[in-house]
């Protein structure tokens, strides 16, 4: 039963990817030049406005309160706890990507940090020099050959692409924690993730505020930063995007 549910959601995710990939397409030249593909800009901008207002009214104040009241070590621990909860899902993704070493790393981290790190609150795995793992179903789709798709901003979540959005959906429904018989609390993974995000929002508030509230067009900035960083993580940076500094006309500057 568990497996079938997981299979169904995976199927739905794949179907969605197919559908989305079939919609609007970026020309290969534009993609190679590293251009932004944003055919749903109008909808995205309104979602961005909504996300900004939620951040301003709830998320930002809650996060700054959280990091100012809770000692930094505990904020770090809660972040690690959420990361540890995501390890079974990451191991599955690493396996789906055919990356056995990464699968091993994710499982080792899970085992060590759960047992020696008090259920994942600490990170002894790093003390044993086991590198951190950070993967998701979006990356699995990338490995399987799916293109980035269009830029989308997800309500309450933030910048993404159609491919990564399918990934977020699939990760949520395929996380083994969600289906565990001995689930300590319903949706604990989701709550832990929200707390982890609050820690990040509070700790990096100067940087995030400068993007969201101090730039002339925060939507364009967030889009550019997300896409470039995501392509960097996935190793999709195109050489063609390199500009020759000798070719720009700098006369007068």
């Amino acid at each position: 039963m568990t497996l079938t549910l997981r299979q169904i959601s995976l199927l739905v995710a794949l179907l969605l990817t197919g559908l989305i990939a079939g919609c609007a397409r970026q020309s290969p030249e534009a993609r190679a030049a590293g251009e932004v593909f944003d055919p749903h800009e109008e909808v995205n901008r309104s979602i961005h406005g909504f996300n900004l207002s939620v951040d301003r009214a709830i998320f930002r104040p809650a996060s700054s309160g959280y990091v100012s009241v809770v000692p930094p070590e505990i904020v770090t621990s809660f972040g690690l706890f959420a990361e540890n909860l995501s390890m079974p899902g990451q191991a599955v993704n690493a396996l789906l990507q055919g990356d056995l070493p990464k699968t091993g790393l994710a499982l080792s981290r899970l085992l060590i940090n759960t047992v020696l790190g008090m259920g994942g609150l600490f990170d002894p795995a790093s003390d044993f020099s086991i590198p951190r793992v950070d993967t998701n179903f979006g990356e699995t789709l990338h490995v399987w050959g799916f293109g980035e798709g269009a830029y989308v901003e997800i309500p309450l979540y933030g910048p993404s692409t159609t491919r990564d959005a399918v990934g977020v959906f699939a990760d949520f429904f395929t996380n083994p924690i969600t289906f565990a018989k001995q689930n300590p609390a319903d949706n604990i993974g989701v709550y832990a993730e929200i707390v982890r995000r609050m820690g990040d929002r509070g700790n990096y508030s100067a940087t995030i505020d400068s993007i969201l509230y101090e730039s002339a067009d925060s939507y364009a900035q967030a889009r550019l930063i997300y896409l470039q960083n995501r392509r960097f993580e996935l190793g999709e940076v195109s050489e063609i995007a390199e500009i020759d500094p000798f070719e720009l006309d700098t006369e007068g500057f």
């Binding site: 900035q221 500094p245 720009l248 500057f253």
Partner: protein, 196 residues
């Protein structure tokens, strides 16, 4: 006429004979530039001066180590084509101060941090110096500097933080600011001077 030609060929022979190190940008000089830049920034951060004094220092460092005319021209983008020489000059100056304040304002994040040179590689006519930033309480991240000798000296002209091209984000920002001001370059320059 003949003398001049002789003189010229003699001169070019002399130039060709000069040791390569004087001319070509090398991996070594690119790396040295980045190390010196980071050291100078750290010195300012450790100086405990007032923030305003620090911004002045950052601006001076930016001028010394970076290819400011390239950075300004790139940031203004296609709008540079319709800008007058006076506007270009004024923009370049205002932009440098703005950058020094914008990034200088976040100097606290760098207190106690360090940058480690990881690798230097040549790409066409320029160099990419990859470094790993170790900041307090953060997982190490990748910072890459692009260095060229376009101006005749080794200068950095762009930075990437975890793949994010800072020059491109600045061009996007300047473009959006111009749009908001209906393309008025003078207004943009005036506002850049006030912005931090």
């Amino acid at each position: 006429m003949m003398y001049r030609r002789m003189f010229l060929s003699g001169l070019s022979a002399t130039i060709a004979a000069l040791p390569q190190t004087l001319w070509a940008l090398s991996a070594n000089s690119a790396e040295k530039l980045v190390i010196a830049l980071v050291n100078d920034i750290n010195k300012v951060i450790d100086s405990q001066k007032s923030e305003q004094a620090m911004y002045k220092d950052f601006e001076r460092i930016f001028k010394k180590y970076s290819d400011t005319s390239y950075i300004s021209a790139y940031a203004l983008g296609v709008d540079a084509r319709r800008a007058t020489s006076a506007q270009k000059k004024a923009f370049s100056k205002a932009f440098q101060g703005y950058i020094a304040r914008r990034y200088g304002k976040r100097f606290r994040e760098f207190i106690g941090g360090r940058l480690e040179v990881d690798s230097v590689k040549q790409v066409k006519k320029w160099y990419e110096v990859s470094t790993i930033a170790h900041l307090k309480g953060q997982a190490p991240f990748d910072v890459t500097f692009q260095v060229s000798d376009r101006t005749g000296k080794a200068k950095f002209y762009n930075m990437f933080i975890e793949g994010v091209n800072l020059l491109l984000t600045e061009r996007t920002e300047i473009g959006a600011m111009l749009d908001r001001r209906k393309g008025d370059i003078d207004k943009l320059i005036a506002d850049l001077k006030k912005l931090s």
